[in-house]
Amino acid sequence: MGNCLKINSSDDISLLRGSDSFIGQDGGPMPIYQHEPITQMFYPASSSSPGAVAAASGTSSHLPEEDQIKIAKRIGLVQHLPIGSYDGNSKKARECVICMVEFCVDEAVRYLPCMHIYHVHCIDDWLIRSLTCPSCLEPVDAALLTSYETT
């Protein structure tokens, strides 16, 4: 566990150096949840989610490094939120309240912990700016962290 503490205290640096952060963990147990999101965060940002990256770089091009790191962490957190496809039978929401366009059947929607749904690109762009559900104001990060602890 001492190892974890050390990694946690140097998060910002390990994020900047990229692969360096893994060297110290050779042979050790897989990272625990406390810092798993952080180590993962940087990588989805640069590969698996072009939309989110575009949005983030749009807001971050002139930001100080610490803010860019914060955005990278957010993108990682957002990637953990489930995506489903709209089944057309949902009685709850017929349109995405961000763009006010009706959902199409089988369209990809992002589920927030409060169960509000949005178009993936609409809500992801927003969550990078604020980790709050636009409909009910439920903080998304707190809910996510709780779900990490309980699972």
């Binding site: 961000i98 763009c99 006010m100 609409c122 927003w126 604020s130 709050t132 636009p134 409909s135 104001l137």
Partner: protein, 168 residues
């Protein structure tokens, strides 16, 4: 959200407001070719000092709307603690989300992408009726509102009269 989606969303709102006008204000565009710049006419809310006035204001939407809020500026002269002397409206729902350095605004009071021209104007109309003197944009108006209400009323009444003359 692309610029195209932003403009579609604003066009939708304009069409809806034209079809089903909302009490208390009317809305249109400054230039009919530019969906990002709106002109609204706010009717001074009844039972307030602003009753009888017709206040023109402009809304300037960013290309990132609804992820980022518009700016709002009164074009008609108006005396109010939360409106700067140059007309800029200072209301928390028009403040960008993110960290609040001073810690006096909750996320719930700040901008949300579900806000529309209608919800913004409802907030502004309620602000006219009920100024918030905790974070005044016009310090002189706020001081007057607290300490010499008669002078405050006189200044508002003058704005109301002036707005009626400009409109007629």
């Amino acid at each position: 959200m692309s610029e195209l989606q932003s403009s579609l969303l604003l066009k939708k709102q304009l069409a809806e407001l034209n079809k089903n006008p909302v009490e208390g204000f009317s809305a249109g565009l400054i230039d009919e070719n530019d969906i990002f710049r709106w002109e609204v006419l706010i009717i001074g809310p009844p039972d307030t000092l602003y009753e009888g006035g017709f206040f023109k204001a402009h809304l300037y939407f960013p290309k990132e709307y609804p992820l980022r809020p518009p700016r709002m500026k009164f074009v008609t002269e108006i005396w109010h603690p939360n409106i700067e002397k140059n007309g800029d409206v200072c209301i928390s729902i028009l403040h960008e989300p993110g960290d609040d350095k001073w810690g006096y605004e909750k996320a719930s009071e700040r901008w949300l992408p579900v806000h529309t021209v209608e919800t913004i104007l409802i907030s502004v109309i309620s602000m006219l009726a009920d100024p918030n003197d905790e974070s005044p944009a016009n310090v002189d108006a706020a001081k007057e509102w607290r300490e010499s209400y008669t002078d405050f009323k006189r200044k508002v009444a003058r704005c109301v009269r002036k707005s009626q003359e400009e409109c007629s």
